[in-house]
């Protein structure tokens, strides 16, 4: 057993209103530079939809993630030699039009135009070529099913083998905010010919070294979530950095901090590094979720604590792991699910699936619908979060409904019709974390260097300038 710590995130989709605040604050901090205009380290998609970049979930097109070939785990894009043969031209690399051409508007014409009969117009101008352009697609083109027909091309619908109607009374949709998943088995790291992408030993954040990157751009198709981007100006790869400068100071990422729905949770998970490959190689894709739960270790178990200390997890990190909001949601209560576990990268950003209103078809006069009567089809959620295993999703939704049933019975005094899965305290804690969602309870991030070097820092007080404590 080799225990490592991972900073992980959970998003409670029940509360996402698709406001894009996360995307915008992230963009303003990290990607408002030339070459990075089109990049959204964090973006919000309306599902069903083809997403950003277009059709990112279609791995037959992009060859992203891992696959099992004769029981062996390997990158879908081929063996190392096969991939080196693609250095000069990568057939699976997305190009700018797969995202969109970034633009601004000629705002000055609004001020400088001469007197005319008509209102002046600020026309779009490309941020790449600086020429006038026609806007054909954008990063949130499908907001609230705006594009209409593109929603039907959602790859998950194809997997479900059903079409959806665009009739208003049967429509369903939900929002899906996406960041880099900082996977335990990251395909981008494995695909980088230069070895420039790495997983940080201390907190599991996946980073691209801007020194080491040579622009071979193999990470971009390899990431099944398309969360590594190519900067056309610096000609190097960039990706979400989980706001690591903030993490190191015990602060949550910008997207989490600014989320107006307060739906993001961040904290520490402990996992067994020795079992990562086996979990990623789980034969049946619908079971990968369970394998992922298996490698996440109980931070209270004495043997885990011992192993964690042995592999150098600091004391304050252990403490944070024991008091981790994400551990409770993911492992203790099991109400958070990974996005597309079938890509076998073992993503570490998890989602509490959304409940949705009752469908027209179910006409029972009930306050809370049954899981399968909800508007968003179970099979659709299962495609997104459980590799098609509907049992997993329906269990999670049932737990969320149970919590509501329990809280309702407390208010109304109605008797519960059946015995619920968890005890009273659990539902109250669940309600508090999901419903009240206080800042301090949503985030528990240990500041990077604190625990180990507190005494050292005192020693060094007034003695050195821009060194890090401990003298590195």
């Amino acid at each position: 057993m080799k225990i490592k710590a991972q900073i992980s995130m959970v998003m409670n989709l029940d509360k996402c209103i698709g406001c894009h605040t996360c995307s915008i604050t992230c963009k303003n901090v990290w990607t408002n530079r030339q070459g990075a205009e089109y990049m959204y380290f964090n973006n919000v998609e309306t599902k069903p939809g083809i997403g950003y970049p277009k059709h990112w979930e279609n791995q037959e097109k992009w060859q992203g993630g891992w696959e099992l070939k004769n029981g062996e785990l390997r990158l879908r894009s081929g063996s190392k030699l096969e991939r080196l043969a693609k250095l000069f031209y990568h057939p699976d690399q997305p190009e700018m039009d797969d995202y969109y051409e970034p633009w601004t508007y000629d705002y000055e014409t609004l001020i400088n135009t001469k007197r005319k009969n008509h209102q002046p117009v600020a026309r779009p101008r490309s941020l790449i070529t600086q020429q006038r352009m026609e806007i054909k697609w954008g990063p949130n083109w499908e907001d609230d099913l705006a594009d209409g027909q593109s929603a039907r091309q959602d790859y998950n619908l194809k997997n479900m083998g059903t079409d959806i109607t665009m009739e208003f009374h049967d429509l369903f949709m939900k929002y899906l905010p996406r960041v880099c998943n900082h996977c335990l088995n990251p395909a981008c790291v494995a695909a980088c010919p230069s070895g420039a992408i790495y997983k940080r030993d201390e907190d599991g954040v996946v980073l691209v070294s801007q020194e080491g990157c040579r622009g071979w751009r193999h990470c971009i198709p390899a990431c099944p979530y398309k969360k590594v981007y190519f900067n056309w100006k610096t000609n190097k790869a960039e990706k979400c950095i989980f706001c690591f400068p903030r993490l190191e100071n015990g602060l949550p990422t910008v997207c989490s901090d600014t989320c107006v729905g307060r739906l993001r949770y961040m904290g520490v998970l402990l996992y067994d590094m020795d079992k990562v490959k086996d979990a990623a190689s789980t034969p049946h894709k619908g079971e990968i979720y369970h394998s992922m739960l298996d490698i996440i270790q109980d931070p209270f178990a004495p043997e885990v604590i011992k192993a964690a200390k042995a592999s150098g997890v600091p004391a304050n990190w252990l403490l944070a792991a024991q008091n981790s909001p994400v551990y409770r949601l993911i492992k203790e209560w099991q109400i958070a699910l990974p996005l597309h576990p079938e890509y076998r990268t073992l993503p570490m950003v998890w989602y509490v699936p959304p409940l949705s209103p009752i469908t027209r078809r179910a006409e029972a006069d009930v306050y809370l619908p049954a899981v399968e009567d909800m508007r968003i089809p179970l099979t659709y959620l299962a495609e997104l979060f459980a590799a098609g295993n509907t049992a997993i999703v329906s269990r999670v939704l049932q737990r969320l409904l149970d919590m509501r049933t329990f809280m309702r019975s407390r208010e109304t005094g109605e008797k519960l019709s059946r015995k619920l899965e968890y005890d009273e305290e659990t539902y109250l804690a669940m309600y508090r974390l999901l419903g009240i969602a206080k800042y301090k309870e949503r985030f528990n991030i240990p500041a990077g260097l604190q625990g180990e070097t507190k005494d050292k820092m005192r020693e060094l007080q007034g003695s050195c300038g821009y060194n890090c404590p401990g003298g590195c």
Binding site: L84, Y198, R214, K236
Partner: protein, 221 residues
Amino acid sequence: MNEFMYGIMPYIALTIFVGGTIFRYTVYERNWTTKSSEFLSKRDLKWANPLFHIGLLMAFGGHCIGILVPKFVTEAAGTDEHMYHLVSLAGGLPAAVLFLGGFLLLLKRRFAASERMAVNTSNMDRLLYLVLFLTILSGTIGTVSNIPGGFDYRESISPWFRSLLLMQPDVRLMDNVPLVFQFHMLMWMLTAILFPFTRLVHCLSFPFEYLFRSNIIYRKK
């Protein structure tokens, strides 16, 4: 004149080539990149770029054999001059077609096909493309014009280049070299001077080590 061109200039070029590359790697590694533009213009890269690079590798291999292997070695191995010339043409002509052909396609792609490419083209790129074009063109013309085999570079250019490497340049060897080959010499020296300051450095980053490393890399802060 020859004294400078073939006795001093190569050393200036090679010094800048080596020193500049080390300097850039140690000080400016952050901009050490292939400068890939596939993101901006993908379709017309599909054939042009692999063709160009295959031609380049063939041409590079041919130059290594032609310049670094002394004549007496191949002759000792039982290859007479005529035979050698045929073999070198059999390799050199296809290489020239791929190399120059691929390069022309890339030139068209960069300068005539798309507005997006223009923003990815720096002044240094323009200079580099000009120098590279003249280098490849003069090499191709040299090869083609020498099909009858009147000029034996293995009696002149090759021993001169080896004498350079041995730090005892024998400038007289270059006295009767045809003009197009002399021009080719000038161009490779210019290329070598430009090398550290352009995208060319990416050839030193060919990721051999990738074949031998583990899939997932962990690194401490």
